[in-house]
């Protein structure tokens, strides 16, 4: 077991776990913070997993996730804004 895999597993348990908990409970703004945290941690996990696999073409996945989570979160901030 390489240190990259250990880092990915630790991030899944200690980073993604709290993010999923935050993203599933409470007010919409709190859940959105959980979604942002989960996206950021997932990008790091995917970077480490591509290193574990030894396939550099897998790096497209965290790249696309970083781009889509940015756009998606901005859309959520517009949709969750109170209408006045």
């Amino acid at each position: 077991m390489t240190s990259w895999l250990i880092g990915a597993v630790v991030l899944m348990v200690g980073g993604l776990g709290p993010a999923l908990w935050l993203g599933s409970r409470g007010e919409p703004v709190h859940r959105l913070v959980g979604l942002e945290l989960g996206s950021s941690v997932t990008v790091l996990i995917l970077l480490l997993l591509s290193q574990v696999a030894g396939q550099s073409q897998f790096l497209v996945v965290p790249l696309v996730l970083a781009l889509l989570s940015f756009a998606g979160t901005l859309v959520f901030t517009r949709l969750l804004a109170p209408r006045r």
Binding site: V29, A66, A81
Partner: protein
Amino acid sequence: MTVPTTAPGFVSELLLGAGVLVAVASSVAALLVRSPYDRLHFLTPVTSLAGPLVGASLAIENGWGTTTGQILFVVLLLAVTGPVLGAATGRLARRSTEPDPGRSR
């Protein structure tokens, strides 16, 4: 688990450990606080500190090349977009909590 025998290998593992530690500590701390603003504060170290630390660790391991370029680009993207998303979410949190000026009259 393999033990690094070279100096770059040791530095790479050290940076990886620091990055993972920062990300896990920030996630757990975000879970412990209640205010959305405090939670946003704990989101920043993940994108601005843990990301570059993990990226630097991977860059040292892989050496100069297109793989390292891709990794650094992803990490840079994360570091640039993180504060933008934090500001947008903070503005949303303020708009959600402040009273509606139209209803006070």
